[in-house]
């Protein structure tokens, strides 16, 4: 029943996202899809601006939330997410470097995948050198991820400074921006994200067993090493492909699984689909706020998500790491 409410919320938000501020009665809006009139400005805005925007928000939110849900389980850290493990940062800086070198959109997508893997690898490597083994709760990994992300952001900004024209085009993108101008990226990269999510769904059962304990999983006949690597790889690919579309949209992957988990429990085959819907909803709401809160000016949705995400991040730290001492 609760999940029905989630879907109703999603539908309502989608409707609001398309309709709010368009100045059309809902029936006239419906005509956009049934009987499109290319000369009607309102129709044009809804079909070519708002619909792509809503689709990007839904796709990116869903993919990032799934990826975050899996990462939190695999790394055994409540603060793990694509944005905190350096995946988004790495993908972002590789795409920017690709753009500076003059690569096309498709090649940038491949660069994003390589970058996401490189970012995650770098974060884990730094963490291991700084003594991850001594720290059972894996907080050092989050620190290393933050350092890698900080470095990536610095490098991306520096690269963009060398090319003012590119800078204007990518300045919004590097802080995460759900925007209809990235619709062509969505059409090129959406299948990568869903393919990776599909792999994760197939692996949901063994992955959940691994989360409960590696020995338990091994005794149940799971190839722990291979499944973990495959799960990690798929979630990195999913998150990087989402980053390739609209930049590093922060913290959906961190926050949404935490919001959903109390209702679904930790089992991934329930957690992931619900996280996907909730993630899409979160991005849709963030984009709606970014667009309408300061109307007629519109804010960047990535910035809204970062602000909200930072707050929730602080709350999570208080709950998970300061609770024992308080």
């Amino acid at each position: 029943m609760r999940f029905m409410a989630l879907f109703v919320g999603l539908g309502l938000c989608l409707f609001l996202h398309l309709w709010l501020g368009s100045g059309m009665p809902p029936a006239a809006m419906a005509k956009t899809f049934l009987d499109f009139d290319p000369d009607d400005y309102g129709h044009y805005v809804i079909l070519y601006q708002r619909l792509p925007r809503a689709l990007i928000a839904l796709h990116v939110g869903a993919v990032l939330a799934c990826s975050g849900a899996v990462l939190q389980g695999l790394v055994r850290n409540p603060l793990a997410a694509p944005s905190t493990l350096g995946i988004s940062g790495g993908a972002m800086v590789f795409v920017v470097a690709g753009a500076v070198l003059g690569l096309g959109t498709a090649a940038q997508g491949i660069a994003a995948l390589a970058g996401g893997a490189a970012g995650a690898g770098a974060a884990m490597w730094v963490a291991r050198l700084a003594g991850l083994g001594l720290d059972p709760r894996g907080m050092v990994l989050i620190l290393a991820g933050a350092l890698v992300t900080m470095l990536c952001m610095g490098v991306a900004n520096a690269l963009l400074l060398s090319d003012p024209a590119l800078r204007t085009a990518y300045l919004g993108w590097i802080s995460g921006d759900i925007n209809h101008v990235y619709a062509d990226r969505l059409t090129q990269f959406w299948w990568i994200g869903w393919l990776a999510i599909g792999v994760l769904m197939v692996l949901a059962k063994p992955l959940t067993l691994i989360m409960l304990g590696t020995e338990k999983a091994a005794s149940a006949g799971v190839d722990v090493r291979r499944v973990s690597l495959l799960g990690l790889g798929a979630s990195v690919i999913a998150a990087s492909s989402a980053t390739a579309i609209c930049g590093p949209v922060g913290f959906v992957g961190l926050v949404v699984p935490h919001l959903v988990r109390p209702f679904t429990g930790p089992a991934l085959w329930r957690l992931m689909p619900v996280s996907a819907v909730a993630g899409g909803l979160a991005c849709l709401i963030a984009d709606l706020i970014a667009r309408e809160a300061f109307s007629p000016y519109s804010l960047h949705s990535g910035v809204v998500l970062d602000l909200a995400g930072g707050l929730v991040f602080a709350l999570l730290i208080r709950r998970h790491y300061l609770g024992a001492q308080a």
């Binding site: 907080m139 050092v140 989050i142 620190l143 520096a158 800078r167 802080s175 960047h300 930072g310 602080a314």
Partner: protein
């Protein structure tokens, strides 16, 4: 000067009442030598050609033409500001690492630099007419506010270690989205200037900027000597530090405030130098493992050397492409960082 041995059998060197481990002294002199050599090469890089004879002429006080102007007004101030900014950031990193007992603590990671930047950006954007003298104070207000927020958010119980750093990341994330808003919605030329500064740059370093930074540098020297002993007890852990007679409740806030002041002075002069606070103390420790005062001073010198080298790289390629200081610092520092980590891993393996 007479040779002696410390309790651990290492050579000691005495100068009057001061005593140093010979190892630390050698490392310090080496770093100073490298800094001097890099500075000398760095003065000769640039559009105006300057050779060795010009430098000797300047030292005698008889250089007035283009070369004299380039040296006195541009290159030497840049080197001096780079030295002091690098020193301050590295010192802050070393202090915070001892305080948080974590090798990854960094003024950038804790959000201190972000706090300074937000305040400076706000001042530049909303009061462009304000005198530049106000900038350091704006930076300090921002960083102090962040430090205070961190202490309040973490609370008394978990003030030590990782919780502080994680909370720093949360604060840093929120503040960086504020900087993004400011950059995205300011007019294009202003936004370009802002992100130029955010990428780190010594292009604003003139004699006045050097003079503004100098008091902080001297302050940091005094603090390195004064706090060095406390920090060496922190390296042993909070409980042991207290049992060694360290007043943790007094020295902990003191160290935090000193870090805030030094990091904001450096941010005002050169922008945020990301990762330097982690790299420099680590490289210094690789050169000569130390704790307390020698660790602070060697880290500071290493930071200064890295920034001077990075600025040299920035200026030597400035004709063909814009390479902001932050990026060249990454290009110079990260390979060294990686090599030193590799070598250390090999060493521990062979010792096993």
């Amino acid at each position: 000067m007479k040779p002696a041995r410390a309790t651990d059998g290492q050579e000691l060197v005495h100068f009057g009442h001061l005593q140093f481990r010979a190892r630390h002294l050698r490392a310090g002199l080496l770093l100073l030598g490298v800094a001097a050599a890099l500075s000398l090469v760095s003065t000769m890089i640039g559009v105006t050609r300057i050779g060795g004879s010009d430098i000797t002429a300047l030292l005698r006080g008889g250089l007035v033409d283009d070369a004299g102007f380039a040296l006195r007004e541009v290159r030497l101030p840049r080197i001096a500001a780079g030295f002091m900014a690098g020193w301050c950031v590295a010192l802050t990193g070393a202090m915070l690492q001892s305080l948080a007992r974590n090798p990854l603590a960094d003024p950038g990671l804790l959000g201190l630099s972000q706090g300074s930047m937000v305040m400076i950006l706000l001042l530049i954007l909303f009061a462009p007419a304000a005198p530049p003298m106000l900038l350091p104070f704006a930076a300090m207000t921002g960083a102090l506010a962040v430090a205070l927020a961190l202490v309040l958010l973490v609370g008394r119980g978990g003030a030590g270690g990782l919780a502080l750093l994680l909370m720093g990341i949360a604060v840093e994330t929120m503040l960086s989205s504020v900087t993004q808003i400011l950059i995205l919605y300011s007019p294009p030329d202003m936004s370009y200037a802002l992100s130029n500064w955010l990428a780190g740059s010594l292009s604003g370093a003139d004699p006045a900027a050097v003079l503004a930074l100098l008091p902080w540098f001297l302050f940091s020297l005094g603090m390195a000597v004064w706090l060095g002993r406390s920090l060496s007890t922190y390296d042993l852990g909070q409980d042991l530090a207290m049992s060694l007679g360290e007043n943790v409740n007094r020295s902990r806030p003191l160290i935090l405030v000193v870090s805030v002041l030094l990091s904001s002075a450096a941010v005002t002069a050169a922008g945020p130098l990301a990762f330097l606070g982690v790299m420099a103390p680590h490289l210094a420790g690789f050169l000569s493992p130390a704790s307390g005062r020698p660790r602070l001073i060697l880290s500071g010198l290493m930071g200064a050397v890295l920034v001077i080298a990075a600025d040299m790289l920035t200026r030597s390629v400035s004709g063909e492409l814009a390479l902001p200081l932050g990026l060249s610092l990454t290009l110079v520092g990260v390979p060294l960082f990686v090599i030193s980590l590799r070598l250390r891993a090999l060493k521990t393996l062979s010792n096993r």
